[in-house]
């Protein structure tokens, strides 16, 4: 099954990269941009038929390795 993990910096943690990109977009004329956050997506292909079981396992992967809980939250999206 295809699974996408969105690793998102916790909202109260600073994102200097996002702030710098927002500034650059303004400089390029995109005044409509209010804010930018730069995060990561991890794409996995995982064996298994049961979406709930696969989701549970990927959640464990996030807790063990893929996300740093001090800085990041995560969202697991299993493609049906």
């Amino acid at each position: 099954m295809k699974v996408t993990v969105n690793i998102v910096r916790r909202p109260d943690v600073a994102d200097p990269q996002g702030a710098t990109v927002a500034r650059a977009l303004h400089d390029l004329g995109h005044a409509s941009v209010r804010s930018v956050r730069v995060d990561r997506a991890i794409h996995l292909e995982v064996d298994g038929d049961d979406p709930e079981a696969v989701r549970a396992e990927v959640v464990r992967m996030c807790e063990e390795l893929l996300a740093n809980p001090v800085l990041e939250d995560f969202e697991v999206v299993v493609e049906e």
Binding site: P16, Q17, T20, V21, A24, D27, L28, V38
Partner: protein, 218 residues
Amino acid sequence: MTRIGVVTFPGSNCEHDTVWALTLAGADAELVWHRDTDLTGLDGVVLPGGFAHGDYLRPGAIARFSPVMSEVARLASEGRPVLGICNGFQILCEAGLIPGAHIANRDLAFICRPVEVEVVDTDSILTRAAEPGRRLTIPLNSYEGAWVDPSRAGRVVLRYVDDPNGSQDRAAAVANEAGNVVGIMPHPERASEAVLGSDDGLVLLAGFVDSCGREVTV
């Protein structure tokens, strides 16, 4: 005297070192702010090393849009010498003035140490003063130091003797077709005085200064 502009972007940090070394190599070098668009009177331009815009998004991705870059591109198209060192090399690739792009070092660690490079092509503004086959010891200092070029349009002018970072063809310096725009990943300005470990970089910088001093035939 040959006048060379060294561009300073927010986050550049090798600009003073580059001016120092170019001066040792015989040039009259000055800083150019990234928002300046008047490069009149400059015989050549260097984009120095550092972390323009923090290397955020991708190294060089934001710097390539600085106002000065359209002038740099114009100079390049007129055949004037343009040299990009390290971050400068990354910016030239993002700007499309040299083919290819950069990715993280193979071992995913920042590398700061001297490396040996070999001159493989002297038809460029950087390597014209060196003999083919000559080996030079020059410091490497980068994280996203590996050059990749799916189009295979880039011309390798310096090659690492031992592969330090996974760069395609072990490329350490790459030229455009005409040879007037060159990107080099190691830092020749850091090998410009024996007291600091090596002055092998001088032959490269002298070649560049000499190129700047010549008339351009387009």
